[in-house]
Structure formats: C-alpha cells, structure tokens
C-alpha cells in the first residue's frame, strides 16, 4: 500500500487515491517514425528491478499527473516531481544516487 507525495496538493496521497500510468519520460513517435521507434515507444519497457521513473495521476485528488522515482525492489520513493519535465530534477537524482551510487539514466550521467 504505497503512499506518494503529490507535488501539486502537497499531501502524502494513499495508493487508493492514485492511478499508476507506467514508465515516464517516453518520447512519442507518430506517423513517419520507423517500426523500431514506434515499437520502442509503445511497447518496449525498461521494467527495471530497481530505480523506476514512472507516471502517476492523483486521480481521486487534484486530478494532476506527476512523476515519481521509485525503487521496484524496495518500494522506496526517491522523490516525486512535475510531469512537465524531460528528466528528474537534480534533488531526485541525488536522492537516487545516495542509494544507488553511479546510477545513470538514458545516457545521462
């Protein structure tokens, strides 16, 4: 039974208020993209055992989508942040690296 901090409401929201939305920071590929690109966008998932950047909606709260850095092996939450970003903010990365030294994500050190 997870709790996640909703960055919009500022409250610690219970899992039953939230809807999970899968892997975050996916780049959408539309018409004109290659089969590889499209397949990667729609189906291929990191599915990491460990740090997972993911989407959540505070569905039975403010209704806003936000992103979370969560560990799928321990369920630790390293931080939640706005959905309108292309990568986690520095403080979230720092929190991740405190537990996973040297952690990198999508070629970004």
């Amino acid at each position: 039974m997870l709790t996640l901090h909703c960055p919009y409401c500022g409250i610690q929201a219970d899992e039953t208020e939230l809807a999970a939305g899968g892997e975050a920071h996916l780049k959408r590929y539309g018409p004109g993209s290659s089969d590889d690109e499209f397949e990667t966008y729609l189906f291929m998932r990191e599915n990491k055992k460990g740090v997972h950047l993911e989407r959540w909606r505070h569905a039975y709260g403010c209704g806003k989508w936000f992103l979370a850095a969560r560990d799928t092996a321990t369920l630790e939450v390293y931080g939640t942040y706005a959905a309108q970003t292309s990568e986690p903010p520095v403080e979230v990365k720092a929190a991740i690296r405190a537990k996973h030294p040297g952690w990198t994500w999508k070629e970004q050190a």
Binding site: T40, N47, T74
Partner: protein, 414 residues
Amino acid sequence: MKRYSVFAVAREGLRYHTGWERAWRSPTPKKKYDAIIVGAGGHGLATAYYLGKNHGITNVAIIEKGWLGGGNTGRNTTIIRSNYLQDPSAAIYDKALKLYENLSQDLNYNVMFSPRGLIMLAQTHHEVRGYQRTVMANQLQGVATEWVTPQQLKEIVPILNIDGPRYPVLGGLYQKRGGTARHDAVAWGYARACSAMGMDVIQQCEVTGVRRDGNKVIGVSTTKGDIDCDKLGMVVAGHTSVLAEMAGFRLPIESVALQALVSEPIKPCMDVVVMANTVHGYMSQSDKGEMVIGGGTDSFNNYTQRGSFHHIEETVRALVETFPIISRLKMLRQWGGIVDMTGDRSPIISKTPVDGIFVNCGWGTGGFKAIPGSGWAMAELMAKGHSPLAEEFHMYRFREGKFIDESVAAGVAH
C-alpha cells in the same frame, strides 16, 4: 528412477521409508550443455522435459536462482482451463489441458489433476455475449465448452448467489474438462522426470550475465561459474526483463504483483472452479478444504512479491457477494507473486534478437494452466526453430499490430 506406486509405498512403509531415493539429483554444473534453460519453474522444467522426451535433447541444465518451483508455479491458484477465445490461445491452452489429463501417468508423479469443471459467470449482457462468442469459437477450435443457465449454475454450485441485488447471474461459460492440479507437484514431477533423463537441475544458482560471441549466445555466467551452451531458453516469469537486459535486448513486458489468498479449510462445498469477472474474483476449493481465492493485479511495476491490501479487500468483497456463506470463513493466508504482462496480455514464446536465445514469458496471470503446452511448444521451437503452437506468440507481433487479445470485454458501452 524408482517408480512410484501403491506397492512401492507399502514396501517402503514396512521399512519406515528409509529406501526412497532422491526425487532429483543436486549436481554441480558441467562445463557445457547443448541447452540451458534459465528458470526451474513449471514452464522451464516442462521445456526441458519435452526437449528430452520429444526431441532427444537430454544434455540440458535447468538453472534456478532459488528453489525449483518457487516462483509463480508455487504461488498461483492452480486453475486449469482452455476456454480461450482466440485461436492461438485456445490451441496452446488446450494442448496443455490434454497433456495435464495424462501428466500423472506420464511423469509417474501424481499431480492431482482434478477435472472438476470450471465456470465463468456472466453478470452483464455484455458478458453474456462475450462468453457466447467464446462457446461458438471453442466449438470450431475443438474445445468443448457450453453455456449454462442461472438455474443450472445453482445446481452445479449450490453456494452460488444468483440473484444478487447488483449483479445477478445471467448465465455462465462452462468447461467441464477444466479444473485444478497440485501446483508444486507439477514442478516436482517434471524435475524428477528431467533428472531421471540425465538432465541437471541446478538450484541456488543465479545467472549474472549472458555471454555472446557476436550475435550468438555461447553461455551464461552464474554464481556457480560460467556455463557454456549452444541454446539458451529464458523462462523466468517476472524477471524476464532483468535477464533480457543481460542479453542486450528489451521485451515488451512489465512486472506487476498478483495476489491470492486462502481461507481456513472447511468440508467440501464446491466441486467446481468459479470465476466472476464482472466483480473481479475467482474461487475454488482445494483438496485440503481451503477456499483458494484470486483477483486482480496491482497496477504499478513491482518486484517485491507483496501486493496492496485494497486488492485483497475488493476480491474478498466480490466473492462474499457471489458466495455469501464465505463471509463467515476466515482468511488464513495471503501472498503475492510477480507476473509479467505483455502489451496484449498474451504470452511470448519466441526467438529473440540474439541467435540461440529463446524466450518464454508474459504469461501474466494465467501461466500455470499452460505449463505443459508451453513447455511442449518452447521445446519444439528450441529444437526445430519452429512450432505451430508458438507461431503467433512471437515477440515481434506488437510492431506488426498482430495482437492476441483475450479481453473481449474491453470497451463496455451504450
């Protein structure tokens, strides 16, 4: 392998069972095998078994990071059925069912296959149409299923409440050949048979890397050293992504927790498996008398084998509504497993981007019932490079848009 029989048990009984041999050996790994199967769950062991039995390939190791049968094989609700809608699904699940029917004799190990029948309740008009469609499809697939009325259901399952105030039962999809089996025994029976064929079941051995020569697999690195192989089968439900990453490719799957629970045992009161999909719950009674209950999955990625309690709550509530008498039973134990879900919720049995590596995963919540069929198809694919049963389940179907979608209930609307 000493055969099991009532006579063997009687003979051993007279000497305090001191003469039983090990069900399987615990060997140290050889340097090289023709084929390595990673994952000694039901699917992995069945794959190895049919590699040997059907294709004569017995220089095989089955590598397991924990204890054999300790993953989803030992955590599921043991339901067996083949009343699937889509042709490829019906084919492989019905193959599995047919193999289950003779598995105890085939393995000389009683897996307690119990064809007690399985019913899926229809509680909306939409569901009625969906299941009637399945009955029709099954007819052409050679899978015997039938539609039963609420009154017939009440006779088959007296504890069923057919006139609930919210979702009265409108009928059901009945597969008489469906049922249950003893999950652990399936893994143990296969392991014993594999071991008897000379295969090595290597437990407590975790794969830490997949070794390649160019685009060809040459072996694995493990906590018990490097082991070479010509062919590698990955059959590690839940952890497939982790292994695929070692081999350098990705899969269209996500791992989520699925939970189940049992009640305290009571005397027999239900001789059939019932699934109530509108309200999200299913239930059967084990030979020990426990009501075995399952429901929906969590929606977030999870590798902890623990789920969220509100799913248990919803499942129990649904089943109390469906079977009011269970309100006065008690939940004895709940547990979770990690299932891998694909983009269309159907499995993957496929070649991969790496030569010599084959993958069998994505069984989601329905893997146990498929074990023999899955192993049969995977073995054929690994041995021959082609299997009619596995044909449609390749991992490239998503880029083609060629889904195998069993969820006909999608998009209920008026």
